[in-house]
């Protein structure tokens, strides 16, 4: 979609989402930005080995994966110092207190600000645990 080079180009990003259509969209959006997508996977069991592969630059994690939550994956990433952002439909409510500071992308995604949001979440000054909530754009 974008013609200029993105700061995300060449990054390996893990995508975890149990909704196939959403995973597909995120994969496409990241691929457009020149990212190498790891996954998408739909469960914690599938995501844990991928969270530990070499050269992983970041991750986008859907909080609710059917019957389970994605937090074990987030813990692994946090320990490894790999930045990640949660993707959830619940505005601020869906994230456990221990990850309350992690960046959150809201569903449905703002696809026109997707790059900006992912850059802020994964390449910004955030380290996992720091407070930052990416607000959706104001309606105009």
């Amino acid at each position: 979609m974008s013609t200029r080079p993105s700061p995300l180009t060449g990054l390996r990003i893990l995508v975890v989402d149990d909704e196939p259509l959403v995973a597909l969209m995120i994969e496409d959006l990241l691929a457009d930005l020149g990212c190498e997508v790891v996954g998408p996977v739909a469960s914690v069991a599938d995501a844990l080995p991928l969270a530990q592969i070499a050269g992983l630059s970041g991750a986008l994690l859907d909080v609710n994966l059917g019957d389970e939550v994605v937090y074990p994956v987030a813990e692994v990433l946090q320990r490894a110092g790999i930045p990640f952002a949660f993707v959830t439909g619940y505005a601020g409510l869906g994230v456990a207190p221990e990850f309350a500071g992690a960046p959150v992308l809201r569903k449905p995604l703002d696809i026109y600000r997707f790059e900006e949001q992912v850059v802020a979440a994964l390449l910004g000054t955030h380290s996992p645990g720091s407070v930052s909530l990416i607000e959706p754009p104001a309606l105009s």
Binding site: D17, D18, E19, P20, L21, V22, A23, L24, M25, D28, L29, P40, V41, A42, N64, G66, G89, Y90, K107, P108, L109, I111
Partner: protein, 461 residues
């Protein structure tokens, strides 16, 4: 006939006559018999029994007064005196007028004594009757109270100002798991979790200083403690009860476990619904974005987008019919191809009964919907060909797998538009991510053959 009735009444109350069974005639006959018996006895007395005649007549007067009342008793005294004065009996010949006068005085004293006796007896009897009525009334009242207490659906516990349990009902026994004897006299604090007992101490006295019917805890969560130590949520209403100059407090305790459960279940459902709505919106967004990428024109976008939204909606319809518990594979397939005329003979849908979970039902619905749209646009359904969908369950060491085959039989050579583009990606990726299986799309000259294979989860059968 008042005197005769009285005889019968006295005999009745003394138990000598069955109550209320004898009419006036029988009563009169009885009284006459008594008077006659007395007179006959007197007449039969031999002459040598000097003066004894007065004693016999006096006892006759006593009986008549006793049975017929003071009025008739006085008449009997007069008749007896006349009898003595006339002297029809040999023993009375030449009776002294002083003796007759003495007899009359003794007779009057006798009647007076009997009158006093009868009155006092009547009063005692009336008191006994009133007491019996009162006891009966109390028994009825007590039975009603017990029925109300024991039949109450809530636990009712009455305690004194110090918290000592005075009374409790069957529901209180059941709710807290104690026998009545284990609780009576004990402090009501033993029915609370320990952490509340200290705070509760002295509360009853304070409550009784300004008693009013009110809810305990002022809306705070309250818990009861069973004999086994387990706790459960309760609601308690207090009311004061004055008894024998002492103030007691009645606590009506209701178990809130069921209500809490319903509340929690409702919250869960709302969260679940919210999750599904958000998922549906995110899916719609994905469909928009992806359809837009591959659409060649606004018209093409509109057609493809509408078909995909319809597929999503139809998947939801199937689930809604089953309260979102899951859906049969056959229902999922039929729902998606019905819009294209699934009742036609050209369709063959066959497979065992297999139920999928709700999310997986939606995913399979979207995949089948994509295949159906494609077939209607470019495949067998665009040229009057045939379609067969069949599935079966295979078991191996890894578990059970469902293998579904979509087989089109085209009447004309078909182009393979699914080979590239969102449609084919959606199918592959949905089966991979949503069903953890694989999809193969095989374009044969005779038409598309799609094979979906995915494992069945626990509970899917």
């Amino acid at each position: 006939m008042k005197p005769l009735r009285r005889v019968a009444q006295v005999l009745e109350t003394e138990g000598m006559l069955p109550r209320g069974r004898y009419g006036r005639t029988s009563r009169a006959a009885l009284a006459l018999t008594l008077v006659a018996a007395s007179a006959v006895t007197t007449a039969l007395l031999p002459a040598w029994v000097d003066g004894a005649i007065y004693a016999v007549l006096l006892s006759g007067v006593t009986f008549v007064a006793l049975l017929c009342g003071p009025g008739v008793g006085l008449i009997a005294v007069g008749l007896a005196a006349l009898f003595c004065g006339l002297g029809p009996v040999p023993a009375l010949a030449g009776a002294s007028p002083w003796a007759v006068a003495l007899f009359v005085v003794l007779g009057l004293i006798d009647v007076a004594a009997i009158t006093f006796l009868l009155r006092s007896n009547a009063r005692t009897r009336a008191a006994v009757v009133r007491a019996e009525e009162l006891v009966e009334h109390l028994q009825v009242s007590e039975a009603r109270f017990r029925g109300l207490l024991e039949g109450a659906p809530d636990a009712i516990i009455i305690a004194d100002a110090a918290g000592g349990i005075v009374l409790l009902n069957a529901e209180a026994e059941r709710l807290f798991g104690y026998d009545r004897a284990e609780l009576l006299g004990q402090n009501i604090g033993m029915l609370m979790p320990e952490r509340f007992r200290l705070r509760h101490a002295g509360r009853i006295e304070r409550y009784l200083e300004s008693p009013a019917t009110r809810r305990m805890g002022d809306g705070n969560d309250m818990f009861g403690r069973r004999k086994d130590g387990s706790e459960f949520p309760i609601e308690t209403n207090l009311s004061p009860l004055a008894s024998h100059g002492e103030m007691l407090v009645t606590a009506v305790v209701r178990d809130l476990s069921a209500r809490k459960e319903i509340h929690e279940r409702q919250s869960l459902l709302v969260r679940e619904l919210n999750h599904r709505v958000k998922n549906a919106l995110a899916s719609v967004q994905s469909i928009v974005v992806q359809t837009l990428r591959t659409a060649s024109s606004p018209e093409a976008f509109s057609a493809a987008f509408t078909a995909r939204i319809a597929a999503l909606s139809q998947s939801h319809d199937v689930l809604t019919r089953n309260d979102w518990s899951g859906a049969l594979v056959e229902d999922i397939v039929r729902e998606q191809i019905n819009p294209y005329g699934a009742t036609d003979q050209a369709f063959e849908i066959r497979g065992p009964r297999v139920t999928l979970g709700p999310n997986r039902s939606v995913t399979l619905g979207m995949v089948i919907g994509e295949l159906a749209t494609n077939a209607a646009k470019f495949g067998a359904l665009s040229n009057g060909g045939a379609l067969a969908v069949d599935w079966d369950v295979e078991s191996d060491v890894a578990g059970r797998r469902l293998r579904l085959t979509w087989r089109e039989q085209s009447l004309a050579p078909v182009s393979p538009p699914l080979r590239t583009g969102f449609g084919s990606r959606l199918i592959h990726r949905s089966v991979a991510a949503g069903l953890r299986g694989t999809a193969e799309l095989d374009y044969r000259p005779t038409g598309l053959v799609a094979t979906l294979a995915f494992p069945l989860l626990a509970g899917e059968s």
